[in-house]
Subunit: 327 residues, 4 copies
């Protein structure tokens, strides 16, 4: 249930305050150069530090347990662990007093109360360290494709982000945002006509990132208000280049060679310092709640690199599958 | 590549102008009552007929090939075929002159020119007959859950749809729309923390429907412009009922027992009678193109029942998986 | 549960006395030439007729429902159905009086009594028609490899099979046999070090054929009685040719380029005309049972082509997977 | 490629002389009591020490990285690593001089020479530590079933094993063996009619264990020489108890409630100290080879616990699936 991919298969594991988080990667071709340094840039982008991100500091040093030898992938499963270090003991009782907007209650329900709830456990954003590491390997497989995700909107504004976040922090509140992702130089032919369309696989991966509320490809929700004559992308050349890109680079579930584009909506962080109300399972009544601890004021800030990672994972898998479907 | 589900597995097959379209359903529990009549209502909703839908008339009579005996599912694979009848021979050459907005070119590229391109082949909306049939079985499995999808917006308007469509037809053009889907009385605990979140699986299935451009859960893209204090759904009771439902019934990838809600953006039909331009691979130049034939002016009109079907398929699978997450 | 393969995925469906049996094949590359005639030879080998095979006569005409166009695979799912014709109504009550050695009781238990039990239903050997059809397509994908399965032993003898079978028929009894399968000209590198070793996948497929009791690769059970110095296959050349082939063409789960060899044990047909005893669930006591109807005296006779089919299915899938183990 | 199971999914990783070996277990229900001590007995059985086993000594201490909290499974993925300690640097060049009977050459071919070949790398028997750990968890899930595997034959003899092994060691040679496995108190209804028959899944898992050459269920290869009247297991009671158990507890791919029985053939260890010949890729000629280092004289000795583990893994998965297939 916690794996993804058909040939290039990624599995993640770990809890926020457990021994380690990490990933296991199966189906990665042999012979790809990988060093510990290769992970640094993307892990650094995921790490906290900027204004609006949590004060928990994890060095995020990837320990390669298997699958890489003499600086190259061996073809056997790649396992990478991040041992947790900066974990503070928690007095907060998520089971009795579930935080609004969090998985405290659903996690408790699903796992019969046996889930590790320290720091959000397996639901923590910390779990994405493994995802970013897998993304680094995936990017190497599809080295010809350039994936770029960036924040294009925070709190409804398209600029002056820093001030907006400062305001939110001051008010003990949080803000949401919109991330745009483009993948350039993408080959035509990736994806399937049904079930495993390129959009299906990308959205599947994107919605596993905690906090995502929506995704749209190309002209997205705006296309629902367009006429066919406005929306159709006219084909200009034998290479399939189009005049516009309302389709976001995909037709019939299959990439058409034009730039893949999509946007995702990220909700404001659920953990806010403002007093809220929630149901207390011990007292069996609604009570005020003040969340303490270290939190991001805007989770969207740290998310672009994770969006890139899951996009790379999907495209790497589709690229490897595509080699297998043409005779 | 053309299958979906872990326990309740749906596979579809067929081409628009081939011998048959249909589906194969594996992992369906035994003992569920199913008759040919059970398929009628949903297949009728999918069928054309209303203003704005294609004039091709297929009786859509499901032929049960296997898996149902004495009116009950047997536990072995269920195969249902819809033999094609109203197929007109096509003079149109999709390979030489690919239609804008269609999969003509991507299908040709992906399958090396061997794809059946008559009437869109495997990319045709006709393929969804099998999906609707699978949805009928899925709805029986989750009979306690009530799934309702409906058009809430066409061409940017929320009412007077008929007039808008008439206008589009008159102008030889097409319009898009927005569909809203809700699933009421849904149990808490469906979905997984990562990769197979409830949103991941639903969006995966939804984006396999031809013409979908976006999906948003709960407050969706609007949540990116909200503060945490506005967006958080306050928990009101031990059952997990919330004051608002900005999360769309899902926290941390897992259903929370509140109504599941999502909206999808559907693009305007690509096939329009207005003259467009496209690249002609034979003459190697851009030329005017007039598409003839029978088409929907608004594909969103026929889509709600398909949206319900794939939602039911996802929820049936998650329900069967969930039987044993807890020991 | 009733599918097999990772890229080249085969699913079968149908019941012995239902509407049809057949298969659905996903992941088959496009552009492979296939005609209805291509299925004839192998289906004829599977069909009954020789002494010792059932008198039920099914013409076994494959109806191609999808995935093949202008004599070539299109890349979309291939569905083939065999509509049942020679089905006799059954008076026999398998539920009340389960036949020894059959799936009557286990099928009833597993599917809560809802399984179609006419003629064995989904457990019937008739279901293998779809498997043979899938095998025909698979053989085309691995056209360089020559797979040959043949009976090498019946009733403990290695020759004079006909007389032995005549004797069994005369005594109202049945006999078992041993089938040997070799795959020549096989590339090195197919299979995985663990879980999906070549032997794992082949044995998985072989044991799905009704009536198989054992499988051994290379020197098989005899190797348990050999010394390492006797058993080791000495490598003779840069191509990996070996002096002996005790390993059956596989080392560490991966084909080594030498001929793949395995043998399988097939039990005697369970349906015999000799009076046996069984438990009668209606009378709740052990009673004599005489099975009437049309049966094979030796199911091993019709099995070599099925063994070839599943072997081809495994090797086609492994070949398609292998295209990209190395980067 | 290196994972197994549908609901209860086991993945293994690691190389013999790399940083660690281990496993990742997904789909394990929450609430199962597990302590580090629970792994001791089975890991001790797998460990070397007895006469005929290698002198490499690994403490095999399982480090639980995730998925277990307060002594119970949490429902999220369980990752367990065994960090390697007693690894000696190797001067031996497996690439130039591949050992007969080993995966040196196939591993090199498959992975383009990038496989970690130190001590056999991912092909080493050491990788089974993770399998045994997964088996310990699996056994807890099916705690009502008693699985027992034991050596019943070494070098063709059914007793006096120790002397036989001493002789083999003295002669610098190795011996094979036969292991019998029984699973008692097994519920009826596990397994599927086709592709995922109980025999298919068990043999799939068994053949992933290095060194297995054959498997037979119930009367196995002997059944090929029996008459139907001898082989059929007469049903004695409403519970499905049978007079004999030639079927090995499985009919039509589905467990019948009688004891599951199978036997496997294990080849003699490939690494022997006797001088053998092999092809030297550097000199491009056949040359004598003397293997030094630490090896088992009979790998079958350490295998029963691994056989139990994979059997438990299959039965745990089938048990969890079975809860999902009945409505």
């Amino acid at each position: 249930m916690n794996s993804f991919g058909r040939i290039f298969k990624v599995q993640i594991f770990g809890e926020s305050h457990g021994t380690a988080v990490g990933m296991l990667l199966d189906g990665c071709p042999s012979g790809i150069s990988i060093s510990t340094e290769d992970f640094e840039t993307d892990l650094e982008r995921r790490r906290s530090g900027a204004k609006g991100t949590t004060k928990r500091k994890e060095p995020d040093i990837p320990q390669i347990l298997s699958g890489i030898h003499k600086g190259k992938t061996t073809g056997s499963p790649i396992s990478i662990a991040f041992f947790n270090q900066d974990t503070r003991s928690q007095d907060y009782n998520f089971r009795a007093i579930p935080r609004p907007g969090h998985a405290d209650l659903t996690g408790h329900t699903k796992f019969g109360g046996f889930n590790d709830d320290r720091g959000g456990g397996h639901f923590s954003g910390r779990i994405t360290a493994g995802v970013v590491a897998a993304g680094v390997v995936a990017k190497k497989i599809i080295s010809g494709i350039k994936i770029t995700a960036k924040l294009v909107e925070i709190g409804g504004q398209t600029s002056d982000f820093e001030k907006l976040i400062e305001n939110a922090i001051k008010k003990l509140d949080s803000v949401g945002g919109v991330i745009e992702c483009v993948a350039e130089n993408i080959p035509a032919g990736l994806g399937e006509p049904f079930w495993d369309s390129a959009e299906s696989l990308i959205s599947h991966a994107i919605f596993s990132i905690p906090g995502v509320r929506g995704i749209e490809f190309g002209s997205g929700f705006a296309s629902a208000r367009m006429l066919g004559s406005e929306h159709n992308d006219l084909i200009l050349s034998a290479k399939g280049e189009t005049k516009t890109n309302h389709a976001g680079g995909i037709n019939g579930g299959i990439t058409n060679g034009n730039t893949l584009t999509f946007r995702i909506a990220v909700k404001p962080t659920s953990s806010i310092s403002l007093i809220q109300e929630t149901f207390n399972f011990e007292t069996q009544q609604i009570e005020p709640l003040r969340i303490t601890g270290r939190h991001d004021a805007c989770i969207a800030l740290r998310m672009p690199v994770i969006v890139e990672a899951v996009t790379a994972i999907v495209l790497a898998d589709l690229s490897l599958i595509n080699l297998r479907t043409n005779f």
